[in-house]
Symmetry: D2
Subunit: 382 residues, 4 copies
Amino acid sequence: MGMIGGGPGAFIGEVHRKAARLDGGIEIVGGAFDIDPKKSKQMGKQLNLDPARVYSDYKEMIAAEQKLPEGERMDFVSVCTPNNCHFPMAKALLEAGFHVMCEKPMTISVAEAEALVQIVKKTKRVFGLMHNYTGYPMVKLARDMVKKGEIGKVRKIVVQYPQGWLATALEKAGNQQASWRTDPKQSGGSGCGGDIGTHAENLAEYITGLKMTHLCAELTTFVKGRKVDDDVNCLVKFNNGARGVLHASQISVGEENNLAIWIYGEKGGLEWHQEHPNYLYVKRMGQPDQIYKRGNPYVAEYSTAAGRTTRLPSGHPEAFIEAMANIYLNFADAVRAGLLKKKPDPLALDFPNVQDGLRGMQFLATLLASAKSSQKWTAFKK
Amino acid sequence: MGMIGGGPGAFIGEVHRKAARLDGGIEIVGGAFDIDPKKSKQMGKQLNLDPARVYSDYKEMIAAEQKLPEGERMDFVSVCTPNNCHFPMAKALLEAGFHVMCEKPMTISVAEAEALVQIVKKTKRVFGLMHNYTGYPMVKLARDMVKKGEIGKVRKIVVQYPQGWLATALEKAGNQQASWRTDPKQSGGSGCGGDIGTHAENLAEYITGLKMTHLCAELTTFVKGRKVDDDVNCLVKFNNGARGVLHASQISVGEENNLAIWIYGEKGGLEWHQEHPNYLYVKRMGQPDQIYKRGNPYVAEYSTAAGRTTRLPSGHPEAFIEAMANIYLNFADAVRAGLLKKKPDPLALDFPNVQDGLRGMQFLATLLASAKSSQKWTAFKK
Amino acid sequence: MGMIGGGPGAFIGEVHRKAARLDGGIEIVGGAFDIDPKKSKQMGKQLNLDPARVYSDYKEMIAAEQKLPEGERMDFVSVCTPNNCHFPMAKALLEAGFHVMCEKPMTISVAEAEALVQIVKKTKRVFGLMHNYTGYPMVKLARDMVKKGEIGKVRKIVVQYPQGWLATALEKAGNQQASWRTDPKQSGGSGCGGDIGTHAENLAEYITGLKMTHLCAELTTFVKGRKVDDDVNCLVKFNNGARGVLHASQISVGEENNLAIWIYGEKGGLEWHQEHPNYLYVKRMGQPDQIYKRGNPYVAEYSTAAGRTTRLPSGHPEAFIEAMANIYLNFADAVRAGLLKKKPDPLALDFPNVQDGLRGMQFLATLLASAKSSQKWTAFKK
Amino acid sequence: MGMIGGGPGAFIGEVHRKAARLDGGIEIVGGAFDIDPKKSKQMGKQLNLDPARVYSDYKEMIAAEQKLPEGERMDFVSVCTPNNCHFPMAKALLEAGFHVMCEKPMTISVAEAEALVQIVKKTKRVFGLMHNYTGYPMVKLARDMVKKGEIGKVRKIVVQYPQGWLATALEKAGNQQASWRTDPKQSGGSGCGGDIGTHAENLAEYITGLKMTHLCAELTTFVKGRKVDDDVNCLVKFNNGARGVLHASQISVGEENNLAIWIYGEKGGLEWHQEHPNYLYVKRMGQPDQIYKRGNPYVAEYSTAAGRTTRLPSGHPEAFIEAMANIYLNFADAVRAGLLKKKPDPLALDFPNVQDGLRGMQFLATLLASAKSSQKWTAFKK
């Protein structure tokens, strides 16, 4: 595995590395870690990498790695840069024959996303998108419960993603994480919507298997001088007639990373909280509530997808890094199958892919269009 | 105290009686408990009332009680009937000189509500509206914290009221509570919006002191054959520029009475859950979260309104009936002050009144108008 | 109903009054509310009582009420005084023909308790003991689940009752509640053990139907100058071979009234917390945890005792006063049955009685004996 | 890093590997993974190790690795075998010049533990003991809060470790984890006490800085035919006069890994739960409760030890593997400092060491002695 981005001071790149390392099946062999070649070298040293494979630039990296014999060059590359770089980097990597793991949102426009879908199709490379929250085993259990009809036809979905860290103008105080996220050029038009709203969308569609068809959105910028939205409130229609509420925020003081979802069907309900990821609350009409707890045999027996992504017995909590590692686990198995010219285990294909990335961009485009519209409902473009 | 409604099988009337009795300052002396005179008698007997004061009809009751000498007749009457009866009964009572405690929603139209405002003004009677959730001490503490600037200028409000009891067509199975609530004639046009959406509206405005100015609402009827909405999703604008999400539901299987609110200001946040009413969660920027617990001296010292409505020390939980008793407590003090020709303690005026009732009807009218509109925002009429 | 104690500034007497009033079946008609006749009169006035029935002294009260014709005199009297007065008052009342509701602990010695058992037997009066925590419906549900074998043979019980309010020498700061509780003459030898340890004992034996046979106790006085223990730690053996831990404290800063119990059987476990009384957590081997919630039909269907003591639907929380009211509810039904010369409904006998009071005194005696012993185990005397 | 144990089907060895890998500073280069050489080879293959460094036996491993030039041989070895092997293996490794990370309990007797202390002293190797729960950042914060006097002098400690997985005779059903733990020869005399009781002891002493001086213990075997205790209940005295309760269980059905601690001082209290490790509950006299949340700047600013062991921002939960990785992080830094002939950062010494291991064995010896004694208190031997 190689990496683009994830240089000194970056947040998510280092988390990718930890997640990729966890299970021992993936080795980081090189990368172009920073736009500043010195910083890239510094990170390479810190990671004990062969200096020859620490590059100043992703183009240089692609060129050099392509020359290495198969089996020695990077099997795949993780793209952990600001949003606006995702497309050109992923494109170049795929066309050069590398499999790609990409941070979300996948691109900064629907057009780019559609182009990437075609490139993936053409190059037949494995493309993974780091919607890490669907890596949690209890999210997979929830999906399987909906699929098997445990709660009946879904009627209502409430999904939220409140954070509070951007309640002040942090981007003017030199915070690197805040700066690029609030720069529309780097983040792609929406701040809160793109950074975390897409996670909410992805989670809701992943678990329910439904597709959003219409949004009624309001994007607000509460912090003076900020160039992008920092708060999203949205009504949603789904393709089976279900209704939903999606709200996300970066100005909700005191909230940390409170992604949570409530799904109500004709027979029951499900509830999951990212900050307490080992539990799935299950409600069945006329019966006591249930708490499904990760690591118990009854979870793995019900959902092989959840069982496959569980490392520790019940009561030994797993968390964020493990969820991300689950995305890598399946992705790497799919890459490995390709390298071995085998058909991958269908369970290994349970990671977000280029279609999910396109979906995220369609969501964002619809969100931005709805926010500008005075009409109540804005339909997703076909 | 007298009562209209609250006959055998009624839910809320008996709760009113318990709440009124709790503190020993109010005595139930008579009533017209049921549209069926026999059932009214039956309830009177069950309550050990003087049979002479158990009436077949509220008009009969008013006529008879009016003839009693002052000091002997009912000081006030509680109206606990389906929504469509509230206005004519309250009107008749007020005009006959009785103080009135009325269930919510106050009327079934803005016009009735406006008329009632005038009648209260003219008759100078005390009028209380049973928005019981604002009777909880921790709600009063929250209001006082916002008022004193503890969380800074309010930016975002999320208020929810999910229930699941009407997830099936209970009204066709002979359930009395379900029947009148889903009959548009008795409930007043909106099902979920009128029954519980108004509580959410009232709670948000009570705590923040803000007023909603625009709604963007979607009302849905999920249960086949139901004549009113059973699910409400709504975006909100407030008069200080704050944004909000309000959602309520009667089809959210597994939810019981999960009214809850999250308020975010520039400096902090507040969170309160009706099902765990003794706790107020306070979030301050850059500091550990705090849990304020009812009954502690630091609560009463900060908020005299919360202290005044606290009966038990901390750790000895108080709940729903006590909250309703708090509305009666203040209301009865106001009535008493009037009887004694004294000015009431300003704290005694902390109960929902006819203006809150009008506000609720304006909310409902705007909700219904918005639900029908294809425009995103519908403004409250001035 | 009459009352001894519960004068101005008293805590528990007023709670008794609220609890007794709640359901409308009990009327407070008089009492001897304070050792100071002026204060007794003051309380009578506050309660709007007939001044003729507000007494200076309980002996005066007994004498006067006895003279009233049957049907007019108090049907029963609640004793809400410091512990050392319970026995002489209850004795006098019973022997004068009154039914008695008594605060706990019932007496200050086993000898007194045994005498009271005999007196109740002889006088055939109804005697209730206010172990209010067993009045909670979910405690009754727990008892019925154990009884029906839902968790199998009980193996282990952990019961705790930590409070923090006596972490400093409040008794020297003029706090009335603290003063009598820390005066060995008024409280009966043990501070924390008698005040709250007995609740823990009662709860454990009530739910499991087991009896403690041996204690290994340590009583500690942490606050300098305090005359009684303020912390209790205790190992327990039960009569079926089960083992237990019982700990209680008045110096656990930050704890309010955190009575809680965990019961583990061969097949499952139960967990209940007084501060969140509407929930019972049920654990079944190899299955998801369950949360039973008060007010649901599945509760009442399983446990008629729980159903009978439920006033509000699920999600409308009930709490401390309602639990106490449940004790009064059943007690008053038993009294009423006696007055009507009927056999009471067996469910009406579900309130703590003189045997429970004796049991509490045996627990306290064993606790104090064990605390003084250097042997590990001290057996309950037969 | 090398490893002894952790072969196919082993639980804790694989967790060690994940924890060691996480941060990228430690590489697994070889090991003797199973008593069965074939299985050891199998594990080596699975880990992509150089077959030459996958050994049949730890003695073979030591001999072979010793021959490798410094810098190429294993810097340290992790011992992940049943308890009875810890001592001979650790001894051999230390005497052969390897640093050692050892699972707990460190040995199966105090004598062995004392011998190991001397061996560590003599060989000057770094010795780490995997008491992983003290690796959690919020445990370190708790320790620092006690140290800085935040809660005043400690008075009472309640520490629990209930599990339910051995509620039936799993050892007879071929469960590998259950088998060795319930075999007194392999586990060292106590089942529940040694496996998890020592964690409770270690946690209590680590956070408070106090030492237990006396125990009053009861060990019970509930499952028929089991050869060791499966339930521990214990009263504790600490060296500053504090009192405690320690209970642990393997038969508490429904409990998973519910290690938790409550510490009460003269001014405040602390509460921490292993299953929700990112939160520390802080109680201050007369003030609202506080929830300290991992990852917030206020945590790192207060406790550099907590800050140093935090990888993710607040709201992005960290869990069990990360806690274990923290032990490895500090341990490896200490090893590295030794390799570089530097003095380690004092913070790097914050990992459990041979003295903690000795302490654990003293605890177990005292626990077993107390369990056999009819006297209430058994003192720790000096």
